[in-house]
């Protein structure tokens, strides 16, 4: 990797529009992905998979340009830099995982032996070491997912597209996959990952791109996005002694919309506008010695609440 490559985007959507006949799947979408993990968030049917396929070079944009490592995504040169893990389970049933990944690696110019060695190494790294030569037809859902991931990573691409990679995985497999995805940028690989499981995506991504009805709604770090919507009321969980007195005191603050006493001892939930100002006031209150506040937790500073607010 050249030093200037580190900063160059591995994926760039430039005013991309895509129609299916008269149906607009994506409209004027522009964003970039560097060597980082970017989450693609949106409801079903808003154009996430279309966007993924455009990035993989499987579809052509009706307008605009999709570039991978500076090249048109549909060119052979761009495709050699991309790894694509689709959102469906399909894999050939008759051959083993190692054999299938080996076969696909041959199309990247690997000889038979080096392709086989590389395929086995990648599958082993992904935890399929014990099942390399078993038929894919006998694999579990999680094992199939690893084969799909292996075929996307085996040729050492600079950019990986993961379309709903967590779907159908058990919690352990999800957490292992999250660790694998998180490790990719350190190897110089940019990642665009889509998922419905927002809280899991949140733990994996550096940035998110929110898509709604074919349009790019917002993009950035989750905290940045949260600040883009200051009018969104936010819930804050507080643990403090004398919770009733504290609740009465908090209700005097202009930022506080509501205070709820919870069933748990010493806990209350405060709904606030302008959370920064509220936290400043809360700090002042704690410093004055009137109340001992043991814990503060921002409950809505997450992707799901931002997304929910933005799409209504």
């Amino acid at each position: 990797m050249r030093p200037d490559d580190a900063l160059a985007p591995v994926l760039a959507f430039e005013r991309v529009t895509r129609w299916y006949g008269h149906v607009v799947a994506l409209m004027d979408v522009s964003f970039e992905v560097g060597r980082e993990v970017v989450g693609l968030v949106g409801q079903n049917g808003v154009g996430k998979s279309t966007l993924m396929k455009l990035a993989a070079g499987l579809l052509r944009p009706s307008q605009g340009q999709v570039r991978v490592c500076g090249r048109d995504a549909t060119t052979r040169a761009a495709r050699s830099e991309v790894g694509y893990c689709p959102d469906f389970e399909a894999l050939p049933e008759g051959c083993s995982g190692a054999h299938y990944v080996t076969n696909l690696l041959r199309y990247h110019g690997h000889g038979a032996r080096s392709a086989a060695e590389r395929a086995r190494a990648v599958l082993q790294e992904l935890g399929l070491g014990q099942h390399l030569d078993r038929s894919i037809g006998e694999y579990s859902k999680g094992m199939r997912q690893r084969v799909r991931l292996a075929q996307a990573l085996a040729h050492e691409p600079r950019f990986v597209l993961l379309d709903e990679p967590m779907t159908g995985l058990d919690p352990v497999a999800r957490s292992e996959l999250a660790v694998t995805i998180r490790a990719l940028p350190a190897r110089g690989i940019g990642v665009l990952v889509s998922s419905h499981v927002l809280h899991e995506l949140e733990s994996v991504v550096d940035r998110v791109v929110l898509v709604h009805q074919g349009r790019l709604l917002a993009s950035g770090r989750i905290g940045e996005l949260r600040r883009l919507v200051p009018e969104l009321p936010q819930r804050v969980r507080l643990v403090a002694a004398r919770q009733r007195e504290l609740a009465a005191c908090l209700l005097q603050l202009p930022q506080v919309v509501a205070v709820n006493l919870t069933d748990r001892d010493q806990e209350l939930q405060v709904t606030v506008q302008q959370p920064r100002e509220f936290l400043r006031e809360l700090t002042r209150l704690g410093a004055s010695g009137s109340f001992v506040i043991e814990a503060v937790q921002m409950m809505d500073d997450n992707l799901a609440s931002v997304f929910g607010h933005l799409v209504g």
């Binding site: 279309t50 396929k53 008759g94 696909l104 199309y107 110019g109």
Partner: protein
């Protein structure tokens, strides 16, 4: 320092694809099943020959069986099935996307699949053409002028060329249609079985694969009046000046359909979601 591997060109891709497709299709169980079917077919032909040899020249029986059973039924259906499955099978089960994201030209992919399907079709056709021949050749007394090896050569050549042409059409259908097997059935029944058997005066039959294949057979086996009528009931007075250039016709048809298939396969997006 080792250089990064370079993706294969069109021919390299075609070679890899053909090898991988054959590897995926040829399984011990399938080969054994095919061989058992061929042996069964040979056994039935042997019994048929044994009963018919008193009243019929076994050469005539072989030519009739080979043409009507293999040439107009087994060959077209098997070839079309192999061709369609090679190209459309992975589009249908969506595994084609793993190939389409590789840094290779789709021309090579299609040529490889075509080659693999053609090999399968030719092998199947040759087996089903040769098995009854040897079953009948085991009864040399029934052959009027002795066992006619030239007839076997003629049928094998004509059917092999026909199989390749059928596979090319199937590959085009696989690249073009969402329901290629339905179109293939219509093509075989409507165009090959009906139109292909029209008399010489019907120019439309020249668009079929059956017609040049039969002209090649008639040219090779030099049939008498009776056998001619058995092979082409609609045409009673075929003249050898009407044989034309059947090999050339088959090659032109193969090339044109293959080029159209490549053109379509390279351009199409085969979006799995749109197909749902």
């Amino acid at each position: 320092m080792t250089s990064a591997p370079q993706p294969p060109g069109v021919l390299g891709t075609a070679w890899l694809t053909a090898a991988q497709t054959l590897q995926a299709v040829v399984r011990v169980r399938r080969v054994v099943t095919l061989l058992l079917l061929v042996l069964g077919y040979a056994a039935v032909t042997f019994l048929l020959g044994n009963r018919a040899k008193e009243g019929m020249d076994l050469r005539v029986l072989y030519c009739t069986l080979a043409w009507w059973l293999v040439g107009t039924a087994i060959l077209p259906f098997a070839s079309m099935y192999f061709g369609v499955q090679a190209v459309h099978g992975d589009i249908e089960d969506r595994t084609s996307c793993y190939l389409f994201v590789r840094p290779i030209d789709r021309t090579g992919l299609l040529l490889g699949k075509w080659a693999a399907a053609a090999v399968l079709a030719v092998v199947t056709t040759c087996l089903t053409t040769a098995a009854p021949f040897f079953a009948l050749a085991a009864q040399p007394g029934g052959w009027g002028d002795g066992v006619d090896m030239a007839a076997l050569r003629t049928f094998v050549l004509a059917f092999a060329l026909g199989a390749v042409a059928y596979v090319s059409v199937a590959v085009l259908f696989g690249a073009l249609f969402r329901r290629p097997l339905v179109w293939s059935a219509l093509f075989v029944v409507g165009l090959q079985m009906v139109t292909g058997n029209l008399p010489v005066s019907a120019g439309l039959r020249r668009l079929t694969i059956t017609d040049p294949m039969r002209r090649l057979v008639l040219d090779g086996i030099e049939p008498d009046q009776r056998l001619t009528q058995l092979l082409w009931p609609a045409e009673r007075r075929i003249g050898f000046d009407q044989i034309g250039q059947p090999v050339c016709d088959l090659l032109v048809l193969t090339c044109v359909t293959l080029l159209l298939a490549i053109w379509r396969y390279r351009r199409a997006e085969y979006d799995s979601r749109a197909r749902d």
